[in-house]
Symmetry: C2
Subunit: 231 residues, 2 copies
DNA sequence: ATTTTTCGTGAACGGTGTTCACCTTCGCAA
DNA sequence: TTGCGAAGGTGAACACCGTTCACGAAAAAT
């Protein structure tokens, strides 16, 4: 192990990196994703814009690093919220996870837009980001795993032949392995799209034409979805 | 009526406006929402950037006008697709509307991002855009109205007291009136959020970590949702 | 003590939205 | 027909932006 000596220089460098990312996040919450600018960040940390290229390959790379951090933040908030209900049933704890996901997203709309909104260019989300997203998903899988360990899943989600399902969920299986039966994977993805739909539309204000408060819709859909997973 | 004489000058002006919007859309599909730039549009139509301020108050206003047009485009595509199944039951035609919504969105990801993605700044979507969105929603309401005229809705979506529901859906009621019973409005919003969730995640590539093809998920959720509306 | 790597800078290039003064051209009325 | 006012278009300018480059200073390694 050579990591025992952060070597002073690496320490300063690491400090600068977090300072830069903090400044980027301040700009993000202040003015939305488009307000993140290399020169504004440089002003905030007391540097010139070209200096930031010693720490990040480009503005995109910097933003990507911020997004990865945000996934860790969200993950932390979500597990902390579920931790306050550690005594409850696993499925109920999944509910708390999702509730905190909504709460965090509403409290951090700019961050949400950056993480879950429309990606800007051609967008092949690169490896470190996928890793952070996978760790976030893991949180849900873990608690869900506890549930299915106690109550094995009996139903069938649909009538696709197993080979077709296996092919369909190949990306998932390659990343997360065969922890759950295929119908459970289906139910999970369906649940995720439903709750994402509600939260995204609420955060983006795309439901203001219809309703004043999205919470009743969210709670009802959440309980319905948990019911699907329970049966 | 004074509109009988477009007065030549107004005619040229209108032609320029559509040329400008066409150029903006070309840039949009070529390079995404961020590729729309005033100067690039000006180059395309053979003008200088300041000249465009004779036609639009700002770049934002121009983009807003484009988005309003896109809603009309999408609406046209959707009604055309449903028109090919005019002989079918109204609820089945709603299914065709939604299917075409997904097809159009996948074929026009950049446009979709602009219309349904994360809004950029503080975002009070202004009047003409809301109007276009309302006309788009109308398409679904009309076909849905045909269905409920033939098969009056019997069930209850949830257990909220009517006064609370009335308060909840006040924005909808103010725009679209009391055409449907309150539970139907609830079901419609729930259905819209579900299908939006799937389509948005598919268009944005947010489901590639899980599955290779979203269509089975979409079709199953669609048929389930239509079942909810039918009962 | 000297060399090498790291860090930071200022200048520059090409791009952006927006404003302004200025000029031409068109439409209309006297 | 002449004049005049409004509309449309332009070039210059301002303040931003991401990025590259040559260069100097400081720190680390030799």
């Amino acid at each position: 192990m050579t990591t025992t000596t952060p070597s002073r220089r690496e320490r300063l460098r690491a400090e600068t990196v977090v300072e830069v990312k903090e400044a980027a996040r301040r700009l993000l919450v202040a003015g939305g994703p488009t307000a993140i600018s290399l020169r504004a960040i440089a002003r905030d940390v007391g540097l010139t814009a070209p200096a930031l290229y010693r720490y990040f390959d480009s503005l995109d790379a910097l933003v990507l690093a911020v997004v990865a951090d945000l996934f860790e933040d969200l993950r932390g908030a979500v597990v902390a919220a579920a931790g306050e209900h550690a005594a409850e049933e696993p499925l109920a704890r999944v509910g708390h996870l999702v509730r905190e996901f909504r709460r965090w997203s509403l409290a951090h709309p700019a961050e949400f837009a950056l993480m879950f909104g429309s990606p800007v260019p051609g967008v092949t989300r690169c490896d470190p980001l996928n890793e952070a997203g996978a760790r976030f998903a893991e949180t849900f899988f873990t608690t869900l795993g506890e549930h299915f360990q106690r109550h094995p899943f009996g139903g069938a989600a649909h009538d696709l032949p197993e080979a077709a399902q296996r092919d369909l969920f190949r990306p998932y299986l390659e990343t997360f392995g065969e922890r759950f039966p295929l119908p459970v994977i289906y139910l999970f993805v369906a649940a995720w799209t439903r709750l994402y739909g509600i939260v995204a539309m609420e955060v983006f204000g795309h439901l203001r034409w219809a309703m004043t408060d999205v919470e009743p819709l969210f709670e009802l859909e959440l309980s319905r979805t948990l019911g699907h997973l329970a049966r």
